[in-house]
């Protein structure tokens, strides 16, 4: 449709940011659909590939079988990206991989996986059409049945015999009167028929009350039972999974276990003695009184609690946990000699996912958003790993040492151009010196100890430094070059070399006297002397404590700390309690043990939004769901505005100045959480839980309780939200579950809705 003449005006702004992104001409390929797809046998699916960064948008399509599967068994893809499935699924429902490689740049490719499923069965009739309580034999007729197909009774599989492609039979026991939903599932992904209803007639009914109970560990509850339809009102009590799920007496007195069971819920039942079949049941949530306290603590000090870590932290206590973490050996980083980009990405995410040094890894993440280096300029693995090593090595050290090492780090030397500044003549490069003061240490405005900005008589902020200071610092930092295998250089400096810090170039340091932030650096100092003088001046600047306190509190705890909180941490940084100035261990411990961080009923502005990676890892750790090597899914993170190890500029992935739209509250991470980011995150998380189809095996504990909707939601609440799920969220999820055709779909639904709820998106 073309537009008609319109009476409206449209303004369009094209903005050219000069921000520090460097590689503009990268070729990328993205696939649509981007998430794994499932295609029925003999079915067709069209893929499209989008090539960016080159005018040649052609791609070459190919199809790769999984290990052990022949090429002629996986279907075919044509030159337009149209895939046609084979007549039978792949063995084990393994997935074939479709690849689109850029014709302009063959090494650039995008992949997706295809799973071939059986055709969806149809269901036309049931024999008998109604049942009584007790054992039964059920025969179903329909179509598209394959060997291994199962009859599902309210989503639970019955022991089924395959008769023909149009008939199945199963035996079972009906334990409750009422309508049962019967469906047929072929083996493998996504092939479940529409349901037919089977009525079970019974005059007996068993009702247990109260119908919803929440207990503390070792708590007790007396249950009542009502049997109708028989003069024999006796029942037999039981607990599913006893004794780990607690015990119940023959009078219905339940005692909860001493520690909460997996998933946090148990089911108590009563079976009528009248027929030995009819039963009533109720789900009980076992609360962990310390789950919220320690769950919140671990959200701030790790990439999210695992069940084991939660138990451990509760056992040793918070302070001991932190000191244990300080003493835990550093996770390893790839060798510089062989590191690829993928190795760097894999290690960064794997350490965060499963490293024992969780607190250190959390700090590496936080520091990587302050002292930014990015792969769009440092394109090879060996240009990025040294930077990670500096952050990791110094996370629990002293800020001055960190600052000195990062200044001389060859990765940073390349990224912000300090390497060879002034070596070949020309003005001293101001890039690193400016960002060193603005982004790494002092910020733009003079600060009070509580982080508030100092102003002049007219209310204008007092600047921390001037352009002259930047130029003076740039001169003080001239004359450094990359090292080399022998650690030497002539007066021309060295080419790029990343193992080891930068070294001074003889005769290429600007030896004039400098004045930095009001303090003099005398003429004639060496490059090392000027470096140490400059670092001393900056390190001892009164802004530094508040600056670091604010950044780290925002990264670990909350986007909106109170001034008093910032002040307390700044005082620790400054050594007011007798500590050494800049002691990171003291600062970290003070941040996470502060009463404001530890308030389990925080005010309404207390929270921080998880970044996509933090969000992913929190899910993965809580559910023990290994996402695999990050380099395999790193491309998806660009669409969430969090390219891994690849911030778009020296300001990181988001600005510390960012406010939540239409609000006075800070919310830096909201800068990368717009509508499209939200949907891209959601789709990524969905693919994590439904792969391999029909559900990731790590989620089996949830599938086991999913027949009881309330128990399922409670289990998810306990695991992800420590029992804090808001009532409206719970109600909404419970409302969605009845429409799902099986227990797997119930689990996927409840998890997905929880992942993308605001209460799980923010750490609070």
């Amino acid at each position: 449709m073309y537009l008609q003449v319109v009476t409206r005006l449209v303004v369009l702004v094209l903005t050219l940011l000069t921000a520090n992104t460097v590689a503009a001409a990268t070729v990328t390929v993205t696939l649509d659909p981007a998430a794994s797809v499932t295609v029925p046998v003999n079915g067709v699916r069209q893929f499209t590939a989008k090539v960016m960064g080159t005018t040649n948008t052609a791609v070459k399509w190919s199809l790769t079988p999984p290990a052990g599967v022949k090429r002629n068994a996986i279907g075919a893809i044509d030159v337009t990206g149209k895939y046609t499935a084979p007549p039978t699924p792949l063995p084990g429902f393994a997935s074939a991989t479709v690849t689109a490689a850029s014709v302009a740049k063959r090494a650039v490719r995008a992949r997706n996986t295809i799973t071939v499923r059986y055709a969806t069965p149809t269901l036309s009739s049931l024999t008998p059409t109604a049942l009584s309580l007790g054992t039964f034999t059920l025969t179903v007729t329909g179509g598209n049945f394959v060997s291994g197909a199962q009859i599902l009774w309210n989503g639970q599989a019955l022991s089924t015999n395959f008769v023909s492609s149009s008939q199945l039979a199963a035996k079972g026991t009906a334990t409750q009167g009422g309508a049962a939903s019967i469906t047929i599932a072929n083996p493998g992904p996504g092939a479940v028929s529409t349901p037919l209803t089977l009525n079970v007639t019974s005059s007996l009914a068993v009702v247990v009350s109260p119908s919803s109970v929440s207990l503390m560990p070792s708590g007790m509850q007396q249950f009542q039972v009502t049997v109708t339809g028989s003069s024999n009102t006796g029942v037999t009590w039981g607990v599913v999974g006893s004794p780990g799920a607690g015990t119940i007496t023959n009078t219905g007195l339940y005692t909860a276990p001493a520690s909460p069971p997996v998933g946090g819920t148990v089911t108590v039942y009563a079976i009528a003695m009248a027929d030995g079949v009819t039963q009533g049941s109720v789900s009980i949530a076992i609360q962990d009184p310390q789950a919220i306290t320690y769950g919140r603590f671990l959200e701030q000090t790790t990439f999210g609690p695992t069940p084991a870590l939660l138990a451990h932290a509760k056992q040793v206590g918070m302070s001991a946990f932190i000191h244990e973490q300080f003493a835990t050996p550093e996770s390893s980083w790839p060798s510089l000699a062989t590191a690829s980009r993928a190795d760097a990405v894999d290690a960064f995410v794997a350490n965060a996912f499963s490293g024992q040094d969780q607190l250190r890894q959390r700090l590496v993440g936080a520091l990587s958003e302050i002292f930014v280096v990015a792969m769009n300029k440092n394109t090879n693995g060996d240009e990025i790993v040294p930077w990670l090593q500096v952050l990791s090595r110094n996370a629990f050290g002293n800020y001055r040492t960190l600052l000195r090492e990062i200044t001389l780090d060859a990765s940073m030397g390349k990224y912000l151009d300090l390497a060879n500044s002034g070596v070949a003549g020309g003005a001293a490069n101001e890039n690193y010196p400016r960002e060193m003061m603005q982004l790494f240490t002092l910020g733009l405005s003079q600060l009070n100890l509580d982080g508030s900005v100092q102003t002049d008589g007219s209310g204008n902020p007092l600047p921390t430094y001037t352009q002259t200071d930047v130029q003076q610092l740039a001169k003080a930092l001239t004359g450094w070059t990359y090292s080399n295998a022998t650690g030497t250089t002539g007066s021309g400096g060295n080419y790029n070399y990343y193992p080891g810090p930068m070294i001074p170039v003889p005769g290429r340091h600007n030896t004039s006297a400098k004045i930095l932030l009001g303090q003099g650096l005398p003429a004639g100092q060496t490059a090392q002397q000027d470096l140490d003088s400059a670092i001393d001046i900056i390190f001892n600047h009164p802004n530094l404590g508040s600056f670091v306190a604010t950044r780290l509190i925002r990264a670990l705890v909350t986007s909106n700390p109170s001034p008093a909180y910032i002040k307390r941490i700044a005082q620790v940084f400054n050594g007011n309690g007798g500590q050494v100035r800049g002691d990171m261990q003291a600062v970290i411990e003070a941040i996470v043990l502060d009463p404001e961080a530890r308030n389990d009923a925080p005010p309404s502005n207390f929270a921080r939004l998880r970044t996509p990676l933090q969000h992913t890892l929190a899910i993965a750790r809580a559910l023990n769901l290994d996402p695999g090597p990050a380099s395999q899914f790193a491309y998806l993170f660009y669409n969430m505005n969090e390219g891994i190890l690849d911030a778009p500029s020296v300001f990181g992935h988001y600005s510390p100045l960012f406010h939540i739209p239409k609000s006075s509250l800070f919310g830096p991470e909201f800068q990368i959480y717009a509508a499209s980011d939200a949907v891209n995150r959601a789709n990524f998380f969905y693919s994590l839980i439904y792969n391999p189809w029909p559900i990731n095996p790590a989620l089996q504990p949830f599938v086991n309780v999913a027949a009881n909707a309330s128990a399922l939601v409670t289990a998810i609440d306990t695991t992800l939200l420590y029992g804090r799920m808001l009532p409206q969220t719970r109600t909404a999820i419970l409302g969605a579950l009845p429409a799902m055709y099986d227990n797997n779909q119930r689990v996927l639904t409840a998890l997905y809705l929880t992942f993308m709820s605001g209460e799980y998106l923010v750490q609070h």
Binding site: L16, A19, T21, A24, G426, N429, P661, T749, M756
Partner: protein, 411 residues
Amino acid sequence: MCSCLVGTTVITSSVPLTGPQYSAYQSARGALALPQAQLLGITDPSLGAFGLHYALPELQALFNRGKLAILANVGVLVQPTAYQDLADPSFSLPTNLRSHADQIVLMQTGYPNASGSSGWGGRTLDQLQTYNANTSFPIAIAMNSPAIYCVGSLTQGVSLQPGNALVQDAFGIYPPAAAQARATAQQQIVTASSGNALIDAANKVMASALTLSPLLQSAAGSTVFPQPFPATEIGDQLQEIAHIISLNSQLSVGRQVFFCSLGGFDTHGGQAYQQWDLLQQVSKALDAFFAAMSAWGIENQVTAFTLSDFGRTLQPSGAGSDHGWGNHHVILGGAVLGGKIYGRFPVMTNYNNFNASADDYADNRGVMLPSTSLVQYGATLAKWFGATDAQLNGIFPQLANFAARDVGFMA
């Protein structure tokens, strides 16, 4: 580009093409100077011959057709500022000049310090609400990530990605009733109030995705472009914007702003190649965009213009240049009085003796001292958009400090 345009941004734009001004440019710019033979000639009716960066042949043609104007040396100012004012500690200047993070904010808020929480695009739409009374479609859209430019007190900025109709894979399941149940539950979760401001803010983002997705899906694929957009980051963004503009007659949008962006101009090193590469992407993408507006007969209703955090130093450092202040910008559209350079173009020869000069430079690195304020630039556009004089004063509080409220480049 800004070379002459000091710095970078769009135009190397305009380098004086001949005579002592070109020689002064060449000597100041050193290794980064473009040879005369590489410059694309344009002629301003009163200023004479200038050269555009050789990456911009499409913009050269649009300038020659009278569709494109250049505004010289515009930047953030509190008030008219002369060189000697810079040494006066009591003189008000914008805060945190030359800091990317801050200047990226200032150019969007239109305020001279970083404390603002709304942008001048959003505030302009706040004033022009009556034009949008009949639409529920977003009227302020940023490509890829949120931009404060689009946020007003009443106007909500939203962010979209090219080609992304905000479809959730989890809602593509069988049977349809199950898919609908998931969507309904999510809608309930994200529209409920939680008692925590950040939880609510996160929910609001997904709520907006749920609202927008059906609108974007209904329109997908129905747009025909007269000229293909280049497959570049900026090309994709402008194509998506053109696509959304093509929906407007169905959506009853009366006034709309878009924001797209391209990074990589922070060329402390490697400027020669990088600047060429980025500028050619911009030039080709704008050309395709204008061709679409023109073919659809709405070129007089759509204006594209550029902004940046700052220009760069005229003097190089190594193979790059450092952060500057003023910069040259381009304005493109059927309602633009094009083929002209507006504002005061810095006198190149003043750079070499800048202390004695008038006010073209702020220091001896060749940082341009803006002669036109961002608010004058913005007010000229907002006036064309329909804002009254009184409304302009509300949108741009500093506008009263400047004599010329309209720089003159809009019809």
